[in-house]
Symmetry: C2
């Protein structure tokens, strides 16, 4: 892990950009912490870190300033300045064509769009976790939050250091992910935008139902895909505060 820049943000939060094996990432930490900070991995849709930065930094600064959490994110495969993934780009074009034509999106297109991302991203997040947890000032336990939900499901199923998940039920879900969800047993808080025009409400409810976790909470709110109410930021932080002790 190689730090490439560093700045102090309002609220006494240190933001550091890094690269790890050629993958860019950002780490936010409380600038003055007496004990190792719990860590939240902040996932995001494959739109590139630069475009996602305001939303990601807003969440991370709140976590660090109000709850003393460290937070980190990395660029997804095929996004930002990373090499494109030709098959995923093809699937995205197929998806767009189907949606513009008002046709149903086939399972093949969903699989082609999401599964390669999961396969490549999950080992990268785990490698980032190795590096992050070796830094001074960052301790376990670890939470994961945000989209792509299929990445979160896989991470929660295979990575024992992740002990709590804050998922956003807002992306296309391959059929195999519903099966995988049964193997997830960590506490979950799942956000669902009730009238998300680009999302299948019933599929989100079915996925929530499928999770094997004994503690799972669904928060459904009005508003479209990007209209998650501001108060869910603190509700998410308090969920993590209960579990990252």
């Amino acid at each position: 892990m190689h730090f490439t820049s560093e700045q102090r943000l309002d609220g006494d939060v240190l933001e550091r950009a890094f690269t790890l094996g050629g993958i860019p990432g950002i780490l936010w930490t409380p600038a003055s912490a007496s004990a190792p900070a719990p860590l939240i991995l902040i996932g995001h849709p494959p739109l590139g870190l630069h475009r996602m930065y305001p939303r990601l930094a807003g969440r991370a600064r709140y976590y660090a300033a109000e709850y003393g959490f460290a937070a980190a994110t990395i660029e997804l495969p095929g996004s930002g300045d990373r090499p494109r993934l030709a098959a995923v780009d093809q699937a995205r074009a197929d998806l767009r064509r189907a949606m513009e034509a008002g046709e149903p999106v086939s399972g093949e297109v969903v699989d082609a769009l999401i599964l390669p991302l999961v396969e490549q991203a999950v080992p990268e997040w785990r490698a980032a976790l190795d590096a992050l947890l070796s830094l001074p000032g960052i301790g376990g336990p670890v939470g994961y939050e945000g989209g792509v939900i299929s990445i979160g499901v896989r991470l929660a199923a295979v990575e024992p250091r992740i002990v709590a998940g804050g998922f956003f039920a807002g992306s296309l879900i391959p059929a195999t992910v519903f099966e995988e969800a049964r193997r997830v047993t960590i506490p979950l808080q799942v956000l669902l935008q009730w009238d998300d025009e680009g999302n299948d409400r019933q599929a989100a409810l079915d996925l929530f139902d499928a999770f094997g976790s004994e503690e799972k909470t669904l928060h459904a709110n009005l508003g479209g895909h990007t209209g998650v109410p501001h108060f869910e930021l603190d509700a998410g932080a308090r969920f993590f505060a209960r579990h990252l002790k």
Copy 2:
């Protein structure tokens, strides 16, 4: 309103029993408050105040001690020491017979069980609100929380002093209540027990969908009818704190 007893509880909370037009009730207030306290009306199933007391007092004490809210509840018609409602008792016996026989519960039985309760209880809660808001130390705005959800829906639809509702989607719902829900426009937070054996999950989701409110949040959790997780108490308090200012 006539106070019949008074005691000081841990956390500097004053609990006063009262009667109002022959209806027993309980009022909890922060013992030392500098400004008029917002008021939360705490609804409950028709099991009698005595049986419900531990749950109601636990909530009210938390609200008063942690958030400075006043809270109050009154006995429902036909419950506790109040005169029985013969038609409702008959409907309850019909309901029990149907459930023990594994038969579906007819809309007629649901209507007979719930609608007379709504008709009689709602004016009583409004009269209690008049009396409570005339006391020193209690100011508006007002929230309503708890079951019977059909009573909450009617109150939210007709009582302009109630500005936020924390509902529990856990009781039988007459068909007319879904229509009435469209006229509810105040912010809502709705609790749903995901695998509540005595409850119809789809009906609860349909009711959530029907509410006319622009801000409405559904919190679904695992556990049966009485298994609402402890952390929802604070989540409810924070919802009211956002709206009762």
